[in-house]
Amino acid sequence: MILLKLAAKSIWNRKVSLSLAMISIAISILLLLGVDKIRKETKDNFINTISQTDLIVGARSGSVNLLLYSVFRIGNATHNLSYQSYQEIAAMPRVKWTIPISLGDSHRGFRVMGTNQDYFRYYRYSNQKPLAFKQGQQFTDLYDAVIGYEVAKQLNYQLGQEVIIAHGLVSTAFSLHDDKPFKVVGILQQTGTPVDHTIHVSLQGIEAIHVDWQTGTRSAISISAEKARTMDLQPKTITAFMLGLERKIDTFRLQRQINQYRAEPLMAILPGATLAELWQMIGQFEKVLMLISGFVLVAGLIGLLTTLLTTINERRREMAILRTVGAHGYHIGLLFMLEAIFIVAGGCGLGVVLFYIVQIMLQSWLSASYGLYLTISLLDTQQWMILGAAILFGMLLSLLPAWLAYRYSLQDGLMVKN
């Protein structure tokens, strides 16, 4: 069709000003797609902080609270649960595995978590990935510690590093367990989850550093590290535990059973559901970001509109020429509309290309610095809808110059306006 050819040639003739308009649209498309990608990846990453765990059990409180302290190491448990209850539930027939968690101490701002070897065996994150060691191995000795990737990186710790655990979350000189130092025996690989920020020791280790403590302060009789080894270090309480079932179908039954546990008030939560609930609360920023990006696109399109409108008067002669060779007013309108659509579509195309280039460029950096692994995939339905909406909106805006051109061309006829 002749109009397509005319529109293309006319755009090419004004390539400098129009390519600027196109680039600004491309950048806003890049921004929109980028924000959309990041929010989906962050959400995925967040929801997959923990995977394959069917239930998390703790003392009865709020479900989000339990999730926050057990998975994200944020906040504190209001109560502990007894080791006996844990053992009873762990021994239930449908339970396949459990991971006990004992929290409360810290080391230079990083949380210390007491657990057992099952942690390294059963803990899964982000689509069933197991924990892997960057260096060293899991703890075997009472005073062994395994540190997360970020702990090692930020504190610059190597294997064999001595770690002194502080009582509670604030390290003051008075509350250090400095009589019983731990030794780093393993450094975990990056996971992009709170595991990176955790120092893992055995439950018995946690017990050992507290044998000579009473209600938060050091008691008068101190017990040496070596002497503690000879004592019974079976913990009396733990903070929470994770469990996996033989069959997923039993999840709700076991959850109800735990919630109605007679010996003490317990609560079991489904981590996936609670993570989604938590995301609902903290995920609002993504909407704001999308909204802002949307406005950037609108600004880009209005920029294009301005470019088209400023030239419309100069182009009245061109309209008269087209009218003499038999073009109707609607041909002229359509020509202007086609030009706008070409540029918006071109901007979208360029934006998508930029989007992939940026992803390829940032992929390794994002994964190294934030543990956020970008999966480069084809555009999804929502992203196609963003592009469709941009073109549709561009078409709507192009109606204005098109209508003006139509009006002028009918009004001017063969009269050449200078």
């Binding site: 060779v325 038999g326 109707h328 041909h331 063969l414 009269m415």
Partner: protein
């Protein structure tokens, strides 16, 4: 055979009460070379817009090649113009973003009938451009590199391609110097005669009228009180 016949034509811009054009009778036979003399504001452009079917008069008949344009829809009139008319302006006749050759062929892009009549479009364009003394080396160049005289000759080629029955030229020589003007007129006349088209040449310059068989003074033809702009 009548090329153009206007009868009792009244035209005004709709909100205004006064006619800007009132022509009781105008008759131009086919094959004539007609000079219409009129200063600016005499209703010249309006008359051309009526003949070209851009505007429709409020009253009266505008017959072009025995077709009453006032009975046709706007789209039909556009098609009619594409098929039967060739139009040349004073200057800036060419689209800056098309090559010289594409500008010539533009006339055939909005009318399949005119295109069909041309036959081999490239051959016809080249023949016209040769006769109008445009060098072959310029065919694919941007029209912005052409001189004004060359531009006007390309405009003639565009108006003439497909042998339209009527050629309208609105002050086509006023931007040309004396030498170029004579050369332009000679070429225009010889092409128009060769194609047996009717030429309607509009100008304020009475000196040009000597070249024409028929001379019409617009201020005698148009009975409306014209507002000079």
């Amino acid at each position: 055979m009548t090329a153009i016949h206007l009868h009792d034509v009244h035209f005004r811009w709709s909100p205004q009460a006064n006619d800007i054009l009132h022509i009781p009778e105008l008759h131009i036979p086919r094959g004539e070379l007609v000079f219409i003399q009129g200063h600016s504001g005499s209703g010249k452009t309006t008359l051309l817009n009526l003949i070209a079917g851009i505007h429709r008069p409020q009253q009266g008949k505008v017959q072009v090649l025995e077709t009453d344009l006032t009975t046709l829809s706007a789209t039909k009139r556009d098609q009619f113009r594409a098929q039967h008319l060739g139009i040349i302006f004073q200057q800036f006749n060419l689209l800056p973003y098309l090559s010289l050759l594409e500008n010539v062929q533009l006339s055939c892009q909005f009318s399949t009938k005119r295109k069909a009549k041309v036959g081999d479009l490239l051959k016809a364009s080249l023949r016209l451009l040769d006769e109008l003394q445009i060098a072959r080396s310029m065919l694919h160049k941007s029209v912005n590199t052409l001189s004004v005289g060359q531009q006007q000759r390309v405009a003639v080629a565009r108006a003439l391609i497909g042998q339209p029955e009527i050629i309208i030229a609105d002050e086509p020589t006023s931007s040309l110097d004396n030498d170029n003007r004579q050369r332009f007129l000679d070429l225009l006349f010889s092409e128009v005669k060769q194609q047996d088209s009717t030429l309607i040449f509009v100008s304020h310059d009475a000196a040009l009228s000597t070249h024409f068989s028929t001379v019409i003074k617009l201020n005698e033809l148009n009975l409306a009180e014209t507002i000079s702009s």
